[in-house]
């Protein structure tokens, strides 16, 4: 399985994402925002950080880069797309995921471990978790307050698109305690917490590792066990 980690000016979790995939023993490339073709990749990570300095709105400018045009095509083709933190903001700005991320209701940048409840363990991103399981994944954001209108929320619930909720106190005021959602097709997923920062005991948690192994096993299953 070939992986890409998109890099925008101001991305700062790209190396963490790269290392998380590298640890799986899978081939992974950094892909600069000027690239206009992602067809070589099976899984695409949109990393955290502050793309374009968060100018105007988080993710608003990154969304119009060449690589995002290619990402939309890849998403339509059913490739796995995972947006983390600023990557989630980029995915909502681009319309690949519904809703928007607002300023935390505390107005504080929140940076600490967070308990998440796995609400949907049937996605390609969460298949190695148990439904209802509580996992420990760090957060680090100032604009993670997920918002959508009532009709969209009802649709998210009806289609099982709410993948993670905050299990402890809600750190940002997100609607319905949402921490991560996927699209209707299930191949595009965005979350505020950072699974790539929870892949080793040295980092304090290994609970993020199964997100990457989930994607890999989902890809292997749909492409034949021998495929790489």
């Amino acid at each position: 399985m070939r992986w890409a980690v998109l890099v925008f000016p101001g991305s700062n979790c790209d190396i963490d994402c790269y290392k998380a995939v590298e640890a799986l023993g899978e081939p992974v490339d950094y892909v600069w925002h000027t690239a206009d073709d992602l067809s070589a990749y099976d899984g695409i990570l949109v990393p955290g950080g502050f793309s374009y300095g968060d100018y105007l709105r988080c993710g608003a400018i990154a969304r119009f880069t060449a690589v995002m045009g290619a990402l939309v095509k890849a998403a339509e083709a059913g490739k796995y797309v995972l947006g983390i933190c600023n990557g989630f903001q980029v995915l909502t700005e681009s319309g690949l995921l519904p809703g928007a991320l607002l300023r935390n209701n505390s107005l504080k940048f929140r940076c600490h471990p967070a308990d998440l409840r796995v609400e949907n363990a049937a996605t390609p991103f969460t298949r190695e978790y148990e439904a209802g399981e509580i996992i420990d994944i760090p957060i680090a954001h100032g604009e993670g307050n997920y918002y959508c209108d009532e009709a969209t929320l009802a649709e998210l619930k009806a289609n099982n698109q709410i993948v993670f909720r905050y299990a402890g106190s809600n750190p940002n005021g997100s609607i319905d305690d949402i921490a991560g959602i996927c699209n209707k097709a299930g191949n595009v997923f965005g979350m505020m917490p950072h699974p790539e920062r929870a892949v080793s005991e040295l980092l304090g948690s290994v609970d993020g590792k199964r997100m990457f192994t989930s994607i890999l096993s989902a890809w292997r299953e749909s492409n034949g066990a021998a495929a790489r």
Partner: protein, 87 residues
């Protein structure tokens, strides 16, 4: 030339944590008459066109695509024509 002033505001039904914090500060300072604060963005854009209708449709496209996120924000703009100095 047209000069556009664009206002982007958070939708009425969406929480504005910044506005709420500023409102609280104003109350603390003794401005008890403050009932509500909403914080938005103000932008100035110079457009190199002489066609008002075209300027309006271009600005609308800019707002819809980039300047505002219409999921959570409203926008409005004003256009004023002005002649370049020295022309």
């Amino acid at each position: 030339m047209f000069k556009a002033t664009v206002y982007v505001t958070i939708k009425e039904n969406v929480l504005d944590p910044q506005g709420t914090a500023v409102q609280g500060a104003l109350h603390t300072m003794g401005f008890d008459d403050v009932e509500r604060v909403r914080i938005g963005k103000y932008m100035e854009i110079d457009l190199n066109t002489t066609d008002r209708a075209e300027a309006e449709s271009r600005l609308k496209a800019m707002c819809e695509k980039l300047l505002a996120n219409t999921v959570v924000e409203d926008y409005r703009f004003e256009l004023t024509e002005h002649v370049k100095e020295g022309v």
